[in-house]
Symmetry: D2
Subunit: 342 residues, 4 copies
């Protein structure tokens, strides 16, 4: 961390500042310039709040040198992390997977949808048993009964299950049911209580980006999980909130290569929530794959206008099948070694 | 709710749509125009997802007529809600209160800070025992020991205590300690599990707006608490996330009169988090009071540069004292009946 | 346009409102409900400000039914517009083109860059002679001398030129030089004076989206140009401003299919400004193509670290060549008719 | 400017980088650390693009030390600028003024409105003769005839006039009419052509913040005007674009104290555009004054529902009169020396 001290600071003030830093067990490297003085702060600066330093009278600006995330940082772990989600399904490090299924588990039609998405090439089954809904009066999900249905479909089709956990008291239930991937939703992206709880398990976690979370904050969320002992974290871009209202969220496709640059964790994209309208889901899915995503999470429903939640953004099995074929071609276009040109 | 049906829709398509709506127990009122047809949807439309309707081929646009929040809605409850926080301290309906104290409870200096803020006119004591921190490596608060210190200071000075709860499993502990107001932080603004849990008590709740939460979503958060049976909700504007980086957050001062227009619940402002820098806290506090806030939550610390968290935005007791005197004058300017002009 | 009138409005108030609307030459269709009354407003409502109606005491909400853009609206012009940019280069309606070249024209190295991008498959030459720079102290472009160099390269390579015009007084100069496509930059996206001026010509215009412009506003910008008589407008998504700081802008890839849905005009994407860093330009370009863009505008420089402006986001000719080959494959994946499955 | 060089950079790479900087006439100060090396860049760094440096492989991060604005910077000009707007009306340095009048000049009712706002205490007359409208089909203003009406009212009431200029070719007309303050609207905040043109005069300029302009960019806009020779710039916060839709814009009240900290130029607030609805204009105006604004620009109309543009946010003369009386009291509360406490 670097603190830029104003030229107007006296020697005594500078001395106090250096002392204050060193009292926290950190070292300093002071470099005096004509107009300002630069103080390098060396050691574990994750405990120092840059806003606090900037609020001091003699400080002009503060700049972090090292990112505050460590376990998630590619600098300290250059190799891609590959996560084993069960049934031999791996994500990351060149392994691309598509998680598909209904927004909410609604009943026995789940198995039909699961068969359809598997036939089209999906390798993981998604579906919500516990649903975060903006309104307390909206459908809140089937709960444990939904988990039962998911696990039944999973066993029949040998597909790992991805499903959302909202309450730290439910984590044990998810473990008991053998859920393969626990999803943390956008609204809980900074629910540190919940992050720590799933961090105490070894079950893979799909961590969605919060609606107004920066990429760095998303990585700090992963760090919460990893610092409790669970290294199996997948990150998911699902659209951020902006001023644009023609789509439900703004899909930050840039986040895919940025995350690949900053972290070794797999990066998934959710084109359904990133757009909010069926008609835009496929272009967004193609964009995500073209930008290098390690996987997709897509809502598919056999009868979207009857779906209990988010039917607005579900693909039909036919649309999904078409999309999967194009996705395979796009991945090839992006990943393939090109022949030498003459 | 109103659905605008495209002029290109056939009679049959329109009929299917109307049937679909009526199958959900709602009534319709169809008004055919030259270029489009308007379908009024009458009944409890909170269960209908407008995005789903908009995704249907024949639908042009959908517009909610009634807000989806009911218990928090001023239309159905025109009188201001007044909340009794203990020790005779009331908030709302013309009762203005200032909650002040350190960001985190750090030890026995709490009582000194509490005395100082009380002397300056604060009527409620704020302080965090459980702290949501972006980094898992940052200080996470004193926990239950912090609650003990808060309640001790509260008893000595007869000031109700406001303190944040982050884990639904801690709510009972807060009740056991007799905490007067449970705060829900911005990062948990849509942690519906936690909202429901505090909704099962009768303890007043200070609900902070999420970083990218719309005003309507904030009201739906209040609705979650109220629908569980707890009517004692205070809303808190604490700055939203925008592109501007010269302040930590952008203080949405407009939200104060907008909330007063939409809801009967008291509206508090937090000028400390809304700005992030001590030097801007007082102007923001004055702005909040001028805009009609029912109270302020302000960070005060006897030695901000030693504070364990958020010292960057704490006022000293001297600064706070100056601020409180001006705040009283501003309230008078805004609320007073002006004499007749000649 | 639909106005929802509060249930509390009296017959007299409603009558006044209807009168007020009809005085403006519009018709009304009043539909009384139990809780509210819906007034359909029929006729040319582009002259009515919905904010004004919403500010009236008896009005609950207002909803536009028809978009305020007409000439740019796909509803009234379902066929894709194809724009002829010169040298037989067409954009839109299935014609995909890549515009490449340096951010600024810097001198005679322009011809080398132009040759390189043409060899890699670019069909149009971009380069700035007049540069909008945040700082008045930064390099402002070569001006007319830059136009000369662009036209010289254009003639030699038979590539149409795309270059930015900032001053309405320069439009004639651009015409005199025979510039093929006049670009309107993001900062001038709502400079209506300039939009009208280029609208008086027949030269194709590449209209960039403003940093915080909604998609509807972008279309209204096109409408300004088209309403003056110039139908040759191409729209360009170049990233919007959000809270995220890891990229210079947030590339709103969703805007591509949304624009295709709303308008018949060609949609170009600029992956250079949408990211701001060379290392993210290619993934963003692939995403744009996968999402259905009709073209790309890409910065290429033979020596990016020597470039006078925006070298940070320029590709080298080698990087560009690799990108062009993958782009061709992605287009195929997205556009091709897939074989029947058995 | 400080560049943080990665620990992985070789001596040779570092040497090249230092050479590259010094070739641009700047000096460097290299400070080697264990994990990274800090290169201080000394001299006129306004010509260096920090994004370009960050795009270099060996560079970790770049931090500006000195703000890129100079003439507008309080560091180099600590005293408040006071601007003489004519008729003895001064703005800044403790001089507070209210500019009021209709959004658009509509005809001879202007003089009535002007009399009313003057009677209530306004000292400057605002009104638009040239109107930037989102739609080309909306009313575009009276043009030169509007200027005539403004100057006539101005002369009769001895009030300086504030009115918007949109076209650089109109600046001479504004000078010929004797307009006292030329306003640059939000949509032209980065129309550098127009900024330079008004910079060539000595007429005071009211520069509105762009909808998504950062505070630093607003100051760079002022710098454009000042660098051409016109030091008479007033800045105006008028609301920024965010995700919130309950108001037309989000009033960034924090910008007022931030601007006072960074610049010596006067800071005006526009509560009409910052909210967009009459019912919120007064609270926003009070907030602006409480936060320390040097003036307000407020829309007042004798018959808002008949206004040709933006009637939605106009106050009636009665509302304005009430507001002015409270504003005077708020200014006193904020500015007054408080008596010593015993």
């Amino acid at each position: 961390m670097i603190a830029i001290v104003k030229g107007s600071a006296s020697e005594e003030q500078l001395g106090h500042f250096v002392q204050w830093i060193e009292n926290r067990g950190l070292k300093t490297d002071v470099s005096r310039g004509e107009d300002e003085t630069i103080v390098g702060i060396i050691g574990d600066t994750t405990q120092i709040d840059p806003f606090l330093l900037e609020s001091m009278d003699i400080i002009e600006r503060v700049q972090r040198v090292t990112e505050p995330f460590k376990k998630a940082n590619r600098k300290f772990h250059p190799e891609d992390t590959v996560i084993d989600c069960g049934y031999g399904v791996k994500v990351g490090g060149g392994n691309f997977q598509v998680m598909a299924g209904p927004c909410s588990v609604e009943g026995r039609n789940l198995i039909e949808i699961a068969r359809a998405v598997k036939a089209a090439g999906a390798t993981m089954l998604r579906g919500g048993a516990y649903k975060p809904r903006t309104s307390p009066y909206a459908y809140q999900g089937m709960g444990e009964k939904g988990l039962d249905l998911l696990m039944e479909a999973s066993a029949e089709l040998s597909m790992p299950v991805v499903t959302e956990v909202m309450d730290p008291r439910d984590v044990q239930t998810f473990l008991d049911h053998g859920v393969h991937v626990m999803q943390i939703g956008a609204r809980n992206a900074q629910n540190f209580t919940l992050l720590k709880e799933v961090g105490k398990t070894q079950v893979p976690v799909l961590l969605k980006r919060g609606m107004s979370e920066t990429i760095d904050e998303l990585l700090m969320g992963a760090e919460y999980i990893m610092s409790e002992g669970n290294p199996n974290v997948m990150l998911c871009e699902r659209g951020i909130r902006t001023f644009e209202t023609r789509t439900r969220n703004t899909f930050d496709v840039n986040a895919i290569p940025v995350l690949h640059h900053l972290t070794h964790l797999p990066v998934i994209a959710d084109p359904s929530h990133s757009t909010g309208y069926t008609r835009y889901v496929r272009p967004a899915a193609y964009a995500a794959v073209a930008a290098g995503a390690d996987g997709l999470e897509v809502e598919v429903h056999d009868n979207p206008s009857q779906a209990w939640s988010d039917g607005a953004q579900a693909l039909t099995p036919e649309q999904f099948d078409d999309a999967m074929r194009r996705i395979a071609l796009i991945r090839e276009a992006v990943c393939a070694d090109l022949p030498e040109e003459e």
